[in-house]
């Protein structure tokens, strides 16, 4: 009985949605080619011990997405809309970090500033751009998608302008640690960064009232205001927090290549981040949210992308496959379908109990 209750609890919990998606993908891969799950141990070109395999790739590349999903969840919950400028904002944050590291010379022999300084400057800039979006949404009450369309359009040009349209290259190997491997540690660093972000988020949600406030504002703005909250500020804050997440993701992105390509870096990542929130079972219209579910959603999206790559799907064709997932998700979460499903499961349950009583 107890275990049954737990199982039915999981079914009802929204984290069931990404878990189910994960299980389906895993089963598909298991059936198609079990070698998908193989993890091998070896040494990379500079002689560091590394783990490799598709699962490691998922952990690695899913991490930026998970970090972005955290911020996107806050924005979605508070504003009832999404930020479509995160890809462009990553380009800006990455560009700023490289600019600080390189100074005036785009191919420096030694770094012109400590990495931490570059990172912090990147954080400030990304948060300022987040604040820009936040002001448009919270104070000017522009629809989030429309408001962030501005930065979406302009962001990559701004990123190029920051470095005078040059492509700076960092030759110092330690800068590559953030997007690659720390010598001696076989697990990719982005995963550790993502875990750190998750822990911080968890602590923030536990030791502040951010979660309650965000949800309250997202559900009923007017009543939140009469309870002493400032909905404008909470919405603004959510965009600034997303800015911070963008900076962290930006660091990982530029560190992977030790350089930047303004038009390609983090391309279309905003769609994946939004998809992660949706796959996590969170309403894109705002209100209640489940952070763990969003984060898991991000890794599931990466799982899907990696699976598609493995089956040699052209990168151009990827969005079409993702679109299928979106369709399934949207249909599944539509109220009409949910009602049908719950009535079916109720009938099933009734039969079961009847069977027991007889």
């Amino acid at each position: 009985m107890g275990s049954k209750k737990i199982i039915s609890g999981i079914f009802r919990n929204q984290i069931f949605i990404p878990i189910a998606a994960l299980v389906i993908l895993a089963l598909f891969n298991l059936a198609a080619d079990p070698s998908f799950f193989k993890i091998s141990f070896g040494y990379n070109s500079v002689g560091n011990p590394v783990l490799s395999g598709y699962l490691i790739t998922i952990l690695d590349y899913g991490s930026e997405l998970a970090i972005l999903a955290i911020g996107m969840t806050f924005v979605t919950a508070a504003s009832g809309g999404q930020d479509i400028s995160v890809g462009a904002a990553i380009a800006i944050a990455g560009s700023v970090m490289l600019r600080v590291l390189c100074g005036h010379n785009s191919r420096p022999e030694v770094l012109q500033a400590p990495i931490i300084v570059a990172f912090l400057v990147g954080c400030i800039v990304a948060m300022l751009f987040g604040a820009f979006n936040g002001v448009l949404v919270a104070y000017f009450r522009i629809q989030p998608m429309v408001a962030t369309l501005i930065l979406y359009t302009a962001g990559r040009s701004i990123a190029a302008w920051i470095n005078n349209n040059e492509l700076p290259i960092i030759s110092q190997p330690s800068f590559g640690y953030f997007g690659g491997f720390i010598p001696g540690v076989p697990i990719p660093t982005p995963f550790f960064i993502a875990v750190a972000c998750m822990i911080v988020t968890f602590l923030v949600l536990k030791f502040t009232t951010l979660g309650l406030y965000t949800q309250s504002v997202g559900i009923n703005e007017s009543s939140s205001r009469l309870n002493g909250l400032s909905p404008t500020f909470i919405k603004f804050l959510s965009f600034v927090l997303l800015g911070l997440c963008v900076a962290v993701a930006g660091l990982i992105k530029v560190s992977r290549l030790s350089t930047i390509n303004y038009s390609v870096i983090a391309k279309d990542i905003e769609m994946d981040a939004i998809l992660a929130v949706a796959l996590g079972g969170n309403a894109l219209s705002g209100g209640k949210f489940n952070m763990a579910s969003s984060i898991l959603g991000a890794y599931v999206i990466q799982f899907l992308t990696t699976t598609l790559y493995k089956f040699n799907v052209q990168s151009d064709a990827l969005p079409a496959y993702k679109a299928i997932v979106v369709i399934i998700l949207v249909v599944m979460s539509a109220p009409a379908v949910r009602e049908k499903l719950s009535s079916i499961s109720n009938k099933f349950k009734n039969k079961e109990t009847k069977g027991v009583s007889m």
Binding site: F207, L210, N220, S223, R225, L226, N227, G287
Partner: protein
């Protein structure tokens, strides 16, 4: 099925997880009859209506309609409409930015094509025949709430409805508007439409209805002819007990008698907000219950909203306990010990998707600050305490507040503010849309709080309720304070004459 009845519901049952919302309820509606459906909150009125209109699927029982030999199955509101069962809800469910005619014909065309000219002239004809003062081409939002409701009724009538359900239609109307609505109802009755009237206003029931069906705790208490059931009996049937003398609750509770009884808790001078009220002065003493009265739209809500900082304050000075303070937004007021239960609990009160527990602790949590969240255990303790104290009917503290009945939602919001232990509590229409039992409970609670030294400002559309609770009334007309009544002057007639202009 009886010759004269248009609707018969037999043995209707409906279960929700853990609740038997309806158990074997019968309901019969005859042609050309106005039938009141009465009961406390949670008695099952709304559930019965929702079963009839296809919003809920019934778990048992049968529904018969005139003109159908067999039992009918109503699985969606569209089904209900097709079968001639129409509903006009408490909240207007029309589209305010469309024209009156568009609202009457929306969703009813057979194809895509339609003639606007024809539609407008047809709409005008119906409006005229029902004597509704609106034009077909007028935008709906430019009509008063009463007219909007009448348009909704006209829409139903035009759809050839045989059963018209009016769910709390009068709760946001003033007296003249109610009269107009009743005129329309009597007109429809003469045309043979059966009307189910759900309301909390006893006076109105006795004014227009022919029969009363009373529900209690999801069960049928009985069906009565109006002349056989005097008010006192009706109330006791609804409550399931004899009602204690309501007119005398004021003398029951002692007035606050602390040494600081004359201390002025709140004082406003020339206070003015951007909501269009004239500057007004206002004071309240410790342990005093006073109220704002006036017709709907006279500015009584705007006054208390200005006090709480809910609207933008544009002028005047405010003193709390003799000290000058600035109240620009709700949090400023809360920090000064002022709590405000808003008029519209759905829009301004509850946070629907959050649990009862989260709704109860919200205001106190905001006061306490961003970095000091209550632990779950603390929050449960608060919630359970107030669920018990106010007898809130909820499955648990984790239930989303939106799934509670209206009266219980109101209690949750009341709990939220009581938890804050305010010194000055503003209650704007706390008893609207609430059954009579809870109403008396809330009135008693107000007087009890006052006897403990809390100052209360009470606003209600029902003057007798104000008379029972308040010791001083500020009278408003046309967004201006026009008088203050206390002591001997606190009578219905005196209030009326002050509201009307005081010449008589």
């Amino acid at each position: 099925m009886n010759e004269k009845s248009v609707l018969e519901m037999r043995n209707i049952s409906k279960f929700f997880p853990g609740v038997k919302a309806l158990q074997n309820v019968d309901f019969t509606l005859c042609e050309g009859e106005i039938h009141a459906l009465m009961g406390e909150n949670g008695a099952g009125k709304s559930t019965l209506i929702k079963v009839l209109t296809g919003v809920y699927e019934k778990d048992g029982g049968h529904i018969y309609l005139k003109g159908h030999d067999k039992e009918v199955s109503i699985r969606s509101p569209q089904d209900a409409q097709r079968l001639g069962v129409s509903t006009v809800y408490q909240e207007i469910t029309l589209c305010p930015n469309l024209s009156v005619a568009e609202n009457m014909y929306i969703g009813r065309g057979k194809g895509l094509g339609m003639s606007w000219k024809k539609m407008n002239s047809a709409a005008d004809k119906i409006l005229q025949s029902l004597d509704i003062p609106a034009r077909a081409t007028q935008q709906l939002s430019s009509c008063s709430i009463a007219i909007q409701q009448m348009v909704a009724i006209a829409r139903a009538v035009d759809m050839d409805c045989k059963v018209l359900i009016l769910d709390e239609p009068t709760s946001s109307l003033d007296e003249q508007e109610v009269e107009k609505l009743f005129g329309l109802m009597r007109d429809l009755k003469a045309r043979g439409v059966g009307i189910i009237f759900v309301t909390h206003f006893l006076d109105q029931v006795y004014e227009v209805c022919d029969k009363i069906t009373v529900l209690r705790d999801g069960q049928l208490v009985g069906e009565y002819e109006i002349k056989d059931l005097p008010r006192v009996k009706l109330v006791s049937k609804m409550l399931g007990k004899e009602l204690d003398d309501m007119s005398d609750i004021k003398s029951e509770s002692a007035a606050y008698e602390g040494s600081d009884a004359s201390e002025v808790i709140f004082e406003a001078k020339d206070l003015q907000s951007n909501a269009g009220i004239k500057p007004f002065d206002f004071t309240i003493k410790k342990g005093e219950v006073n109220g704002f009265t006036g017709l709907l739209g006279s500015g009584r809500s705007e006054c208390v909203r200005a006090i709480f900082g809910a609207d933008k304050v544009v002028g005047g000075t405010v003193k709390v306990k003799g000290k000058k303070v600035k109240i620009n937004k709700p949090i400023d007021a809360m920090k000064n010990g002022i709590a405000y239960l808003p008029e519209d609990r759905k829009v301004d009160g509850i946070v629907g998707d959050l649990s009862v527990r989260e709704n109860i602790v919200l205001a106190l949590q905001v006061m306490r600050g961003f970095f000091k969240p209550f632990t779950k255990a603390e929050a449960y303790k608060f919630a359970d305490e107030y669920i018990k104290l106010l007898e809130i009917k909820t499955a648990s503290a984790d239930t989303p507040v939106k799934s509670l009945s209206g009266g219980n939602q109101q209690k949750v919001i009341l709990a939220r503010w009581l938890l804050m232990h305010p010194e000055y509590l503003i209650l704007d229409e706390p008893t609207r849309g609430i059954d009579i039992g809870t109403k008396v409970e809330i009135q008693k609670l107000v007087l009890k709080l006052a006897s403990e030294g809390i100052s209360v400002t009470f606003i209600s559309s029902e003057t007798d309720e104000m008379l029972r609770t308040c010791s001083r009334l500020v009278v408003m007309r046309d967004r201006k304070v026009v008088g203050e009544l206390s002591g001997e002057d606190l009578t219905q007639t005196k209030i009326m004459s002050t509201i009307a202009g005081g010449e008589g």
